[in-house]
Symmetry: C2
Subunit: 336 residues, 2 copies
């Protein structure tokens, strides 16, 4: 069916366009009889208000942006499902932007949000993001913002995280209890708060051990997949290679399995492997993978719920509390 | 920095708002001197044209919608990456809508697109979508549309698919050559063209076999994960259970592995398993999983490229050809 415009409705009813427009907005300036006449014809003619016209009038786009490093990762895919569930409930549309871990891309994307395209932003920063002037500018323009998973501590916005420090501590303890003497941590970034917390938990667990224990081995693989492969291959080819590995990013785990296969290293006999991962096939890997599983869906839901609250109370102070949702250690064969 | 409006620029330059607006649109009605003055001040004051105002003026939103069954699936996650790569190149924003395999949701989502929010749509239909009146209506309103992966043959729009018939034929042949006498096909839908093609390829390979071969066993698991689990458990608990399984959807493969583990059925000795899957961990499953891998990223790119072409030639006839990108059979231990 052809779309009908306000002008066409006006002509057909012999009224002015502004009368039609006001009648559709239920203005008190228009009589009940006229309103009814206009509404009836609008229904019959299948009138749909133009998105941009209502956007201009109401100063809202009913759209939120989700800015994340990538989508081909079980954590973010599940988080999107959580976000989308809340957005649909509130009649909000979801724009997805992928930074592919590029700080420059993140800056450029956030700059796009100053023109009314979105009402609010959910952000999980890149592994490269060491400065946050671009995020401050967005907030300075009054844009409601919620950070999730990869947050910046010094930004005054609600934050949804998981217990990275504790999870990493327990992961390391689990490997120590299993007899590991030299545990390596594969980090995602030298700047992310999330990575720093996972590093601190790991160090704390190591420090609690007696002196016979080897020092910390931390490898940062924020770069390309090829670089990550190279770093892990180097690590495991060394005669002094670790007997335990904690991968703090899902993709690193697959690379560790690949390298172990290539070097004929037996998991868990020669190297125990544990990963922060939401991979649904973790139980069916060879061997099944011990994971720290984040509450991805619930974190997405919590972030979107917090943003919806901020949208409703625009221009009012909102709580900048951090909500911490606990992760779970699933022990499987890769560490036993 | 505070956002500046056209009115504020007008006041500061002692010009009318409409002069400012026309100067910013490079109208021939405004003198070069005035234009320069306006542009300089607009730059200094960090003026950003309102998204909805330019949307109304230009009748474009620079936004495309991607409507897919779900995001927590390697195929769709990789396809989104392909779509996003092309969109970013063309300065387009990407709205993601998840139908979660619900026909009603798909109908409701497509109805939202009639008000100018998006310039074009990329669609992969649900397993439930047996009718396509809602897609015809969208096209009838002049909305550029490209179907990908899960397409409808009788819709006059460009389509991007993979060689489902051939892939399924070769998958079945591979199991027959491996000695399977009773091969079951786990289908995704009784209405999808994609599923019908995979079924036909499977049947064709079976028909080519001598009479000693068992008949076809086709199980449709379009329902919930719990239903899928129940159907597969039933199938494999039967004393007359199949000795080969083709999962036509990624998630079914994980469920088959789970059920085999529970029933202590050895893969591949007792049941050979092959799946249509883009799972990056396929090589590291226990046993490694033989897959038909779809060119997900390239299909996403091709679909977005085709849509961009349609957007550029709006109101001109566009080709409704189907582009078929071939899938690849990766033989691994689950069938050897």
């Amino acid at each position: 069916m052809e779309k009908v415009t306000i002008k066409q409705l006006a002509k057909e009813l012999n009224l002015s366009a502004s009368t039609i427009s006001r009648a559709l907005q239920d203005s008190h300036q228009i009589s009940p009889e006229t309103k009814q006449k206009v509404l009836e014809l609008a229904t019959v003619r299948n009138f749909v208000p133009n998105y941009h016209a209502s956007g201009l009038r109401k100063k809202t786009s009913k759209t939120i942006a989700v800015v994340i490093p990538e989508v081909a990762d079980s954590y973010f895919a599940q988080a999107i499902n959580g976000i989308e569930a809340v957005a649909q409930e509130h009649g909000l549309h979801v724009l997805i932007y992928l930074t592919h871990e590029s700080f420059l891309k993140e800056q450029a994307i956030l700059k796009e949000f100053q023109n009314g395209r979105v009402d609010g932003v959910l952000l999980s920063i890149t592994a490269e993001t060491a400065h946050n002037q671009h995020i401050r500018e967005l907030l300075g323009r009054g844009m409601p913002l919620v950070l999730f998973d990869r947050v910046c501590n010094d930004i005054a916005a609600p934050k949804i995280t998981t217990n990275d420090y504790e999870s990493s501590y327990w992961a390391t303890r689990h490997l120590i209890d299993g007899g590991c003497k030299q545990i390596a941590l594969l980090s995602a970034s030298s700047s992310l708060v999330m990575s720093a917390n996972r590093l601190e938990g790991y160090k704390k667990a190591l420090e609690e051990q007696e002196s016979s224990f080897q020092g910390a081995t931390v490898i940062t693989c924020a770069q390309s997949e090829a670089d990550t492969y190279f770093l892990i291959k180097n690590l495991l080819s060394d005669p002094q290679r670790p007997d335990g590995i904690i991968a703090t990013v899902e993709k690193q785990a697959t690379t560790v399995y690949q390298v172990c296969q290539e070097l004929h290293l037996n998991i868990p006999q020669e190297v125990k492997v544990l990963a922060f991962s939401n991979l649904q096939s973790a139980s069916f890997l060879n061997p099944s993978l011990t994971t720290i599983t984040q509450p991805a869906f619930d974190m997405g839901k919590a972030a979107a719920t917090s943003l919806c609250k901020a949208l409703k109370r625009k221009n009012q102070p909102i709580s900048h509390d951090t909500q911490v949702l606990p992760s779970v250690l699933h022990v499987r064969k890769s560490t036993c």
